[in-house]
């Protein structure tokens, strides 16, 4: 079994694990973690693609590698925005939950922002 094959299997497993966490975990911070796992699984798939495209004296195709670098930075920025939203929500409401019922109890006078 080559390291590329192994990497592919790990990547696929990570996508599955992350997807499960994203759907099944109720706490937003755990969802963010799961999103990061899923993201890194996707990046690994890019890595396998790069490795399988080794040519011209290169051990791996540089184009997917560059895309992964872009992707890692974007994923970090996304995590930062999400984490800060969770913290702000926690601060404003005393709890960090996405459940609808928690907000349904709040008085809603319809005077939303205009």
């Amino acid at each position: 079994m080559t390291s590329a094959t192994l990497g592919g299997l790990v990547g696929a497993a990570l996508v599955g694990l992350g997807l499960y966490g994203l759907i099944a975990k109720p706490q937003p911070l755990r969802k963010i973690l799961a999103f990061n796992l899923m993201g890194s699984g996707v990046f690994l798939v890019f890595g396998i693609v790069a490795r399988k495209g080794a040519a011209a004296g290169l051990q791996a195709d540089p184009v997917p590698q560059a895309m992964v670098i872009t992707g890692i930075v974007v994923a970090f920025a996304a995590s930062a925005l999400a984490v800060n939203l969770v913290l702000r929500l926690f601060e404003a409401a005393g709890q960090a939950t996405l459940s609808r019922d928690a907000w349904a109890k709040l008085p809603d006078d319809g005077a939303g922002p205009v």
């Binding site: 996304a78 996405l98 319809g110």
Partner: protein
């Protein structure tokens, strides 16, 4: 598999294609850098220029009858990145180019900065509004699947903070839910991109399309990318984030989010199935998409009927109207394909104008009455007739009644679905039209009768006219000449046309 890169060559005037992206990017960077009141001025100065560029691009596409192409950085695809504008791109570009400045004009009263100091909400709003424009331009013009991914992310980052500008807990929760759905969507899209690159070694749409074969990697990529884009477009059953996010944002932001932002990811679903995967058998996936769309129409309309707040009602009607967009997919192969495509695009554009007009009107109503509870709207139309006229004219398009762009869209889609024998979509559309009539009646009927209520504040004439102008555009789209539909076909792959 060797890729023939000579297929991509820049066309005359192609350099124009970079401007709709670069101008708002300059706007974002400068607005953030020098801040304060100047953010608003920068946006208001750049938007007309951007609209002019969009119109110029449309004219060039029209005159040449061919898509406009530009290769960036001096490298041709597959190594480099190309921009490409076909008829559909140009129409969406102009649509966005009109709605964004309308929302901006409307927003001036809510997001004005006092002289000298910088305030939070205005700076964020003006910066991100330009961010949305840049992102949509990337999406409408991008010809490279990874570049489109970056465009999608730009759109997410620009759109999400607008939802929770007021910082209330429920809007923060709505923004977070929106962000999580959007991130899920991006990751799935990106995974599909990885698989397509692995299979064919290029991400340029024009180079990729002829290479596509029905093989496992392609099917999985198609499924993942479509699922991801549907989460961002809020197609049933992935719509859960939309109503609270769109209904709680400031009116000008709601107009852009509901009118334009969801169309960005929809646009990519169309790119995917009509351009990249045009050679795949499209009936089964198209039918699945249309079935989800039908469910969205019925479900969204029924829920809209049951809402207590006007902005929530309008947000649920977006869920329903997004459903119509997906009825074009099972009709994409055959002699009726052109009608179905035109219908879908017309729906995307007319809903954008109508929905923007409605959210702006709803914002004015909420501001004038101090609430937007539907049960207490009695007589309100007498106090603010122009606002309700805009709401009603927008509603015309949602119901699909003539004369309106919505009517033309639904008519074309019905024609196509009956022509190819898939009349079930026509039935759904008729039912959706009736339900839309129902929920609009709930709002408009009491509003035009009874005592006019005491207004807390008269809506400004200028803001009413912005909403009305948008609603009028949605109506005027009904009079689109046949040439408009020919224009939409510019750049469609020959595969679809060959069957005609």
């Amino acid at each position: 598999m060797r890729v023939d890169s000579s297929a991509i060559a820049a066309t005359a005037g192609g350099g124009l294609l970079a401007l709709p992206i670069l101008l708002p990017v300059v706007g974002v960077l400068l607005s953030f850098l020098i801040g304060g009141r100047r953010a608003e001025w920068i946006a208001l100065v750049l938007m007309p220029v951007e609209l002019a560029v969009a119109v110029a691009i449309a004219c060039l596409v029209w005159r040449s009858g061919e898509p406009l192409v530009y290769t960036l950085a001096g490298y041709t695809p597959p190594l480099g990145i190309a921009l490409r504008a076909d008829g559909f791109s140009a129409v969406m570009l102009v649509t966005a180019g009109l709605i964004a400045p309308a929302a901006a004009l409307f927003a001036r009263a809510s997001f004005a900065s006092p002289r000298g100091t910088e305030k939070r909400a205005p700076l964020v709003f003006w910066t991100l509004l330009q961010g949305i424009q840049a992102a949509l331009s990337v999406i409408f013009l991008g010809a490279d699947l990874f570049n489109l991914y970056v465009g999608l992310e730009l759109l997410t980052f620009a759109a999400v903070p607008l939802v929770c500008l007021d910082g209330r807990p429920e809007t923060l929760a709505a923004a977070l839910r929106y962000l999580l759905f959007a991130l899920f969507g991006s990751v799935f899209y990106l995974l599909g991109v990885a698989l397509l690159y692995g299979a064919y070694g290029t991400l340029d749409i024009a180079l990729l399309a002829p290479l596509i074969r029905p093989q496992p990697a392609v099917w999985l990529a198609a499924a993942l990318m479509t699922a991801g884009l549907l989460a961002k477009t809020a197609l049933f059953p992935l719509h859960l984030w939309l109503p609270s996010a769109h209904a709680n944002a400031p009116a000008a932001a709601s107009a852009v989010l509901s009118g334009l932002v969801v169309k960005g990811s929809f646009f990519l679903v169309v790119r995917l199935w009509f351009d990249v995967l045009a050679s795949l058998p499209g009936v089964v996936p198209g039918t699945i998409l249309a079935a989800l769309g039908s469910a969205a129409i019925l479900f969204g309309s029924v829920l809209a009927l049951r809402q207590e707040r006007l902005k929530m009602l309008i947000a649920y009607s977006t869920v329903a109207q997004i459903g119509y967009l997906f009825l074009m997919f099972p009709l994409s192969r055959g002699p009726w394909a052109a009608d179905a495509f035109s219908g879908g695009v017309m729906q995307a554009s007319s809903h954008a104008f109508a929905k923007a007009a409605m959210f702006l009107s709803a914002g004015l109503i909420a501001e004038s009455l101090g609430h937007d509870r539907i049960a207490e709207l009695g007589g309100a139309a007498r106090a603010m007739p122009a606002t309700f006229l805009a709401l009603g004219l927008g509603g015309l398009s949602l119901m699909g009644l003539p004369p309106s762009g919505g009517f033309v869209a639904k008519w074309l889609l019905m024609k196509a679905s009956i022509a190819c024998g898939q009349w079930v979509w026509a039935v759904v559309m008729a039912a959706g039209g009736l339900l839309a009539g129902g929920y609009l009646y709930r709002v408009l009927a009491p509003a035009v009768s009874g005592e006019s209520p005491l207004l807390q504040k008269r809506p400004a004439r200028s803001r009413e006219s912005v909403a009305l102008a948008l609603a009028l555009v949605a109506v005027l789209l009904a009079f689109a000449p046949p040439g408009f539909f020919a224009f939409l076909q510019i750049g469609r792959p020959a595969a679809g046309l060959a069957l005609q």
